[in-house]
């Protein structure tokens, strides 16, 4: 992002984020069918902490089980590769378990146009044939450009298209916070 963004408001703090992830984990645990062979895949960069936190909470909630967590880089699947500048930096996809027959829970910080999720779906399907793919996002900010919806949402935040949602995680940014930023006029 080259242009300066103005911090408008902090909408969530660490405690709220913890309780939201807690609630999402409970919702996932309630869907017994999905728990069979469930694997979590975080979309780089901030889907990754969400995936590992959900997996940790699920491990607490469902006695005697643990769920594998992987990391997906969607750069090579983007539909805007030839138009974005600067070019996105390619990072590694790290999924060291077999996806065939599993239920995959894709995790991302913000659901916006749906194009990232479209790319992630293609990326996951190239790695195997999951039984089902679900989507968990911390923030759903609307403005969809594709028919994609999340199965688990931390919080829906109505936004204008001039606004930007910034999710910060301890693991990637040193703090758990969600901010609304605004592009200057």
């Amino acid at each position: 992002m080259t242009e300066e963004l103005i911090q408008k408001a902090k909408i969530l703090d660490a405690d709220r984020i913890r309780r939201m992830i807690d609630r999402m984990a409970h919702e996932i645990a309630e869907r017994q069918k999905d728990l069979q062979g469930l694997a979590l895949i975080g979309i780089r960069t901030r889907g990754v902490p969400l995936a590992s936190r959900l997996a940790a909470r699920l491990g607490d909630l469902v006695a005697g089980s643990s769920f594998p967590v992987g990391t997906l880089d969607i750069t090579l699947y983007r539909d805007d590769l030839s138009t974005v500048a600067p070019q996105p930096l390619l990072k590694k996809t790290e999924i060291d378990f077999d996806l065939n027959g599993r239920t995959v829970l894709l995790c991302d910080d913000v659901l916006y146009t749906g194009r990232t999720i479209r790319a992630a779906l293609d990326g996951v399907i190239d790695l195997g044939r999951p039984r089902a793919i679900r989507l968990a996002v911390l923030i759903d900010r609307g403005h969809r450009e594709l028919p994609i919806e999340a199965n688990y949402v931390g919080k829906s935040v109505p936004t204008s298209s001039r606004e930007v949602i910034q999710v910060l995680f301890q693991e990637t940014d040193g703090a758990d916070e969600v901010w609304i930023l605004e592009k200057p006029h």
Partner: protein
Amino acid sequence: MAVTSLRSKDLLGIEGLTPEEITLLLDTAESMGSIASRPIKKVPALRGRMVVNLFFEASTRTRFSFETAEKWLSADSLNFSAKGSSVEKGESLLDTARNLQAMSPDLIVIRHGCPGVPHFLARQLKAGVVNAGDGAHEHPTQALLDALTIRQRLGRLDGLGVTICGDIAHSRVVRSNIWLLTKMGARVTLCGPPTLLPPRIEEMGVAVTTDFDEALEGADVVMMLRMQLERQGRSLFPSIREYFRLYGLDRRRLERAKPGAIVMHPGPMNRGVEIASEIADSDRAVILAQVANGVAVRMAVLYLLLGGHPWEGE
């Protein structure tokens, strides 16, 4: 400062790259590497992009490697080899290039026996140009895959001692490697018979010797070059037996290098000429890792040259 894109539309040589660009290429190649181990070895990143592989000189490894990289990134590719083409019918290089341009390719990968041909094309064409070897000048993707292999095995390039031995005079691989290794902080020692050492090569910032044992002392990496008999007009050394005795790498000689030293060869190998089979087939040799890394490096080059760029849409 870390960079996220290359400055040029072309990759003509290592000479024109900054250390940051080299690091970007290697990091990107590192990420590309995992595609080889997937069930579906294809990503849609370069869908709809057209790449022309223009090979005026024989090549198996490099051409296959580029073709594989293009296929795995979903680019459309056309192969052109000088044999059986319009070049044999007397077409000039510039006319060939203009005809290609008329088909609006996005990138041209070229190998040619004359140094500077890729540079000439790059000036003439709107498409990007990748040098896949021009005479004895440069072969940038080979140097990048060598560097990636070294970095994977030894963890770094900075501060390493790299000994390159053999037919220095006829090697484009060695020139690209010298540029890359010296830019990245490695110490390079060249070694070979005096007839195969070009004059003033030490001005490239390398040590030069004709004594192989001395050159091997304390090396972290030993890179053996192919004896390019087809490029040598006349005999430049008395016999292959004598050459192997003085400059061939065998187990006894390798003991002079560091204990964990790795052995590289750009291929194709002449066993018993520059390298003994006992070394080529040992776990010290990383020759097949070099080949595997070749695809990853070429994917990185294609991706970085054909992905989004600030000058597009102007």
